[in-house]
């Protein structure tokens, strides 16, 4: 007995599949042409949380803004200080903005973003506050991949066109164009892990950053480390070049204040303050800051942390208040044209 018999011809098959194939090929051709002539909308800023945050800060550094105090630094600065609250707690309510980034980037990038902001808002920035985690000084290195990602994003923001997640893969099917330049505009990217409960979507991070003057918040839960480790106050020799590069990028007429962000109290040692301030003084040989923020707390209660290094809402409010208290006497009232 025969297995099966065909009651269709090859011509029938071509008739069934051919028109659909033609449509697909035309669509792909159109996509590639649109890429060539740059007539697709750029990808939205909601591709992933880190890119969203970096893109927000790159964009913010190119916008007109009344900020006179600019916060720069790593993610402990980004999550540790609320720029809006800082303004409110300063005696003259000086407008502040956070352009803090992430730890994987080098100080040259931090300096670059500050310089870009100052160029967009000439003669306006009176004070730059650079806050880092002590771990950054101890490690003294950065991630080349993250710096490259930043450069791509920064260039995209500068030109208004670019690829936020470049790949070496040939996208001849136009999958990436479809996903990132078209579909990402109608489908937001849900977050996973820490922060997902609050933000839900990476685009919400963008909205949060805008609403909170460039500051963010970590909603993770602090977990006491299994092995108790004291805070590390060391200065890596390799940090000198980065530090000097940052100093050279400081806009003229801008005062520089540098400080270190606190660690959890469960990791504290009795001489932390002494060691932290000594580290600041050593670092300042390269940084040449106008003042060291030596009165910031070296530690905060564990309950103020989302996870080691990042503060939660409670910790952020506490550190912001401490920073406002320390900055208040340092910030000179505006007497003449800024920058003079």
């Amino acid at each position: 007995m025969k297995s099966h018999e065909f009651q269709l011809t090859p011509r029938d098959l071509v008739g069934l599949v051919g028109p659909t194939l033609v449509v697909v090929l035309v669509a792909m051709g159109l996509l590639q042409a649109a890429r060539h002539w740059r007539c697709l909308p750029p990808p939205p800023l909601s591709l992933n949380p880190d890119l969203t945050m970096l893109a927000h800060q790159a964009r913010a550094s190119r916008q007109r803004d009344p900020a006179e105090i600019v916060l720069v630094g790593d993610s402990t600065c980004l999550m540790g200080v609320d720029a809006g609250q800082l303004s409110r707690e300063l005696p003259r309510h000086d407008p502040a903005l956070s352009l803090a980034l992430i730890i994987g980037l080098d100080l040259k990038v931090y300096g670059g973003v500050l310089r870009t902001f100052a160029a967009t808002n000439p003669g306006q920035v009176r004070a730059a506050v650079l806050l880092l985690t002590p771990q950054k000084l101890a490690a003294g290195n950065h991630s080349e991949d993250e710096v490259a990602a930043w450069q791509t994003i920064d260039a995209t923001m500068a030109t208004g066109w670019g690829d936020l997640s470049p790949t070496t893969e040939t996208d001849w099917l136009g999958r990436k164009l479809l996903r990132e330049n078209l579909l990402a505009h109608v489908l937001d990217t849900p977050l996973r892990g820490s922060g997902a409960e609050y933000f839900g979507f990476s685009s919400q991070i963008d909205h949060y950053l805008t609403a909170h003057r460039g500051s963010l918040l970590d909603f993770g839960t602090f977990a006491l480390p299994r092995r108790r480790q004291h805070l590390d106050y060391q200065l890596a020799p390799g940090f000198e070049a980065e530090s000097r590069a940052f100093r050279s990028l400081l806009p003229a007429g801008t005062r520089l204040y540098i400080g270190l962000t606190p660690g959890p109290r469960s990791a504290a040692a009795p001489d932390d303050r002494v060691r932290r301030n000594e580290l600041l003084r050593q670092w300042n040989v390269w940084m040449q800051a106008d003042a060291l923020l030596t009165n910031l707390p070296t530690t905060l209660a564990d309950a103020g942390f989302a996870k080691s290094g990042h503060l939660n809402g409670r910790g952020q409010a506490e550190l912001t208040t401490a920073l406002a208290r320390e900055l208040a006497p340092l910030l000179e009232p505006k007497t003449g044209p800024p920058g003079k």
Partner: protein, 466 residues
């Protein structure tokens, strides 16, 4: 090997080449189907091919003995052996830990301490599906509704038929088995329908279900306390599970159709149901009819008085819940639907001569009932059920409700549009009624979106865990 993986596309292309070669020999075709199906199954875990073969051989042998025997007692004993062994296999792999843990909890409640640890038992993929398929075959032979298969290879190929082996539809011997012993006819209409089913099924899984999954995960987590979030998350899950499971079924039916086989319809616009009874006539039809024919009717159905009818409904739906998995949330889901069917039955018997509820009201009540059922189904523990149910009372909107709702609407739109069209025309194959070029544009658009979301790491289908 998942339908939504590149491996499957390669596997199926190779299979089609072989299928074309064996066109003149039914015997060779069945051998090809058997080898391909076992190869397909071995791609998951080759160790369980032995289990599949053993249960198939047992049911083949027992069914033949039942068929030959004229002694009612012997026939009954043989069918009991088959059912017991099949359910035993299912119980061993799927429920042993659950019952041990439940028993331990009972002992602890009585004051006896136990220190039993859960055994590491791997669940063979598809075991719930092929076991039920095998049982139905033996019972149908016992009931003299079909003769026992005389040939082993077609029977083994029937049990292991790769398009529906791991997640159904749960086929009946009298429907599918004869197709293995006759010459299949592959028509233009069949191929047309098959290609459409594969495309639409893959679209539902890859473009819709897999993008709904992170929305659901966002809500089904311990910190969720917002009522609107729970409602949105549960609607997202209702769409996800439908797109995921019906997507699998569509691909299975489409693949079978390309080969000339016809598989049972498993979904018929379930979310258009206007009563719970109607829902179960439209949702996972191959399981609901299996439970009706092999459990509800043998228990007496609705023929043994009102009380017994309610009891039968409760028992069958509890077992339906338990079939999905050995966990308290599935039992509660089954109990919830059992309760709903009892109310549905009571309402109908109280008002036999009156018109049913207005369709829109019936639809709304059914949808709300089914949605709460999905909350029970999706939750990972009793604690989470309590937490999410409590959250329903909190009217506060989550901070992310706008993008969430936006994503939900975007993902629901293609499904709602397609189903509204199918419902209005009364044809599940409504797109096939389009002229060639409009249809090509529709299919082309689906292919393009499918390509965009196609992932090298294919997400497994939800029902594979059952």
């Amino acid at each position: 090997m998942l339908f939504n993986s590149t491996e499957f596309l390669v596997f199926f292309a190779l299979f089609l080449a072989g299928f074309a070669v064996v066109r003149n020999s039914l015997r060779a075709r069945n051998w090809l189907l058997l080898v391909a199906s076992y190869g397909f199954y071995a791609a998951w875990d080759y160790r369980f091919t032995g289990l599949l073969l053993a249960t198939s051989l047992l049911d083949f042998t027992l069914a033949r003995a039942i068929d030959r025997s004229t002694l009612p007692g012997r026939r009954r004993a043989l069918v009991a052996v088959s059912v017991t062994i099949n359910l035993g296999v299912l119980g061993l792999f799927k429920y042993l830990n659950f019952f041990r843990e439940s028993f331990a909890a009972l002992l602890q409640a009585g004051g006896w301490e136990t220190h039993w640890r859960a055994w590491q038992i791997i669940l063979p993929v598809g075991v719930s599906f092929y076991t039920f398929q095998s049982i139905s075959y033996v019972v149908d032979v016992y009931r003299r509704q079909m003769p026992a298969s005389r040939e082993l290879v077609p029977f083994l190929a029937y049990v292991a038929f790769f398009p529906q082996l791991v997640a159904g539809p749960i086929e009946r011997g009298k429907h599918l088995l004869p197709q293995f012993t006759r010459t299949l006819v592959i028509t233009r209409q069949g191929v047309e329908a098959g290609l459409w089913l594969i495309l639409w099924g893959l679209f539902k899984k890859v473009a819709l279900a897999d993008n709904l999954a992170p929305l659901v995960d966002l809500v089904y987590r311990p910190a969720t306390t917002s009522g609107p979030a729970v409602v949105l998350g549960t609607i997202a899950f209702a769409l996800q599970i439908y797109c995921d499971f019906s997507g699998y079924t569509d691909v299975a039916r489409g693949v079978a159709r390309l080969l000339g086989f016809e598989l049972l319809l498993n979904f018929n616009l379930p979310y258009f149901a206007t009563s719970l009874r109607d829902f179960w006539n439209r949702w996972h039809i191959s399981l609901s009819t299996w439970i009706r024919d092999y459990l509800y009717f043998p228990l007496g159905g609705s023929r043994r008085g009102t009380g017994r009818t309610y009891l039968n409904l409760a028992v069958t739906m509890l077992i339906c819940g338990l079939w999905h998995g050995a966990a308290v949330n599935y039992v509660l889901w089954g109990a919830w639907h059992g309760l709903g069917l009892m109310v549905n039955h009571g309402w109908r018997s109280l008002r036999p001569d009156r018109a049913p509820l207005p369709a829109f009201l019936g639809w709304g009540l059914t949808a709300a009932f089914v949605l709460f059922g999905w909350l029970l189904f999706r939750a990972e523990s009793l604690d989470q059920i309590i937490q999410l149910t409590r959250a329903l009372a909190d009217p506060q909107l989550p901070t992310w409700w706008r993008p969430y709702l936006g994503n939900l609407v975007v993902l629901a739109l293609p499904l709602v549009a397609m189903q509204a069209w199918q419902w209005r025309t009364g044809r599940l194959d409504a797109p096939l009624t389009l002229q060639p070029w409009p249809r090509a544009i529709l299919q082309g658009a689906l292919v393009v979106v499918l390509i965009a979301f196609w992932s090298a790491e294919a997400a497994p289908f939800i029902y594979f865990q059952f």
